[in-house]
């Protein structure tokens, strides 16, 4: 949570960790309060203070808090799982989406069969429409493509997108 008021007597978690004087215009101060030291420690371990500073400055002021919180989340996930980080959670969730979609398709098929078999289509309401989501081939860890234009299609390989 961003702290609106900043006092020079209380350095932010970043300046405290970096052992430097916390200036009034400290870029980290609004987003790394001294009450949450591990937030900055995690972010610094994975991304580095300079990278975080650049990322914060590239984002609009009203979005910086969300950006820092997402970085903190990713950093914590990477520390817990150095191999996959937060991508492991994405893979699990995507598999769950696929499984639910398959189940829904099967239930829809049975519902249509049931509706036609009873021969009372006029009495019973028609089966509902279906929600369709983008699906990719399954692999051990799934890297979903969330419907954006892959900027790396011009290259020979598109790593980091849908695989």
């Amino acid at each position: 949570m961003a702290s609106s008021s900043h006092s020079s007597n209380f350095p932010c978690a970043a300046c405290k960790f970096l052992r430097r004087k916390c200036m009034p215009d400290c870029v980290f101060a609004p987003y790394f309060p001294p009450e949450e030291p591990h937030k900055f420690i995690n972010v610094h371990k994975i991304f580095g203070a300079s990278n975080v500073s650049k990322l914060i400055n590239e984002v609009a002021p009203h979005q910086r808090e969300d950006a820092v919180n997402s970085l903190a989340y990713e950093a914590e996930a990477r520390l817990k799982d150095p191999v996959y980080g937060c991508v492991g959670a994405i893979s699990i969730l995507q598999r769950q989406v696929f499984r639910l979609q398959r189940e829904l398709d099967a239930i829809h098929a049975d519902l249509i069969r049931y509706a036609t078999a009873t021969c009372n289509c006029n009495e019973m309401p028609p089966p509902m429409g279906r929600t369709s989501f983008h699906q990719n081939s399954s692999c051990n860890i799934y890297y979903p493509n969330p419907h954006w234009n892959e900027p790396y299609e011009g290259n020979g390989r598109s790593d980091g997108g849908s695989l």
Binding site: D66, E74, P82, Q96, V97, E103, Y152, R157, G161
Partner: protein, 296 residues
Amino acid sequence: MTLKGGATSACAACKYQRRKCIPECLLAPYFPADQTKVFQNAHKLFGVSNIVKILRSLDPSQHAEAMRSIKYQANVRDRFPVYGCLGVIRQLYYQIQMLEEEMHTVLTQLEMYRQHHHHQQQQQQHQHQHQISSMADDVISQLELGMASSNNALPLFNQVTHQPYTMQNTYSSSDIDSPPKDNVENNSLWIQHLFFDTNNHGTSNNDSPIAIQSQLLVPNSEPLADTQHQVVQDYDEIHPFFDSIDDRQSYIDTKDAEDSSSSEESLKETTQLMVGNVGSKDLKSAAACFSLASVN
């Protein structure tokens, strides 16, 4: 940095850092020279030193997967600077929620169809029972009046005493207009919804009832005309379906058996009484009717 002599060029990491790409370069396998943008994203988010630090903390067998996830995370952050992978996770949670809500709605709809189908089944069974009882009453009244029974009634009378299901079978097979076809379809659908009802109690995590359901439905995909043809010959085979179905169906079967057995007993008693009251000539004629009757 390109080596002289036409050797392989430096990796994207070493190229960016403008240093010699040594054969032992840790990032060379994962950042080929043609993927400068990918490396720039990873370098922007993590930094070369942090990436190397992560790789050195892992077993070499895990390097490939780790780099894959790092590149994916960096590319997502490049595409979505504010939320990054967290935005993807939120999107997936939303999709899951939508799917679960839709599944709940569809299951509710399926339950409606199932109840409607069950209601139809009960109505048909009540109609059959009513017709059977009316048939039995007709037979009794005819015997009381001393009228010669038709060939259809006697075998019906015979089989009532022993085989209630066979009686149903005979009645159904003698009356082509009766809906055995519907019975077959209803039985197959009954199996379908019973398995579904037994094994699936609203949980969306169990794939087996859906699989079982699909398997059961596969044999029933034959055309209706063929089904109608086969019903008359295979109607006896339908009864095992009744036996394998759960308690609800067995309850109905038991009830049918009880009803028919009660009618059997009343017919037996009536027959015994009549045998006692009927003269010998009538007995002989009745015996002739029994012998001449063709039992189907």
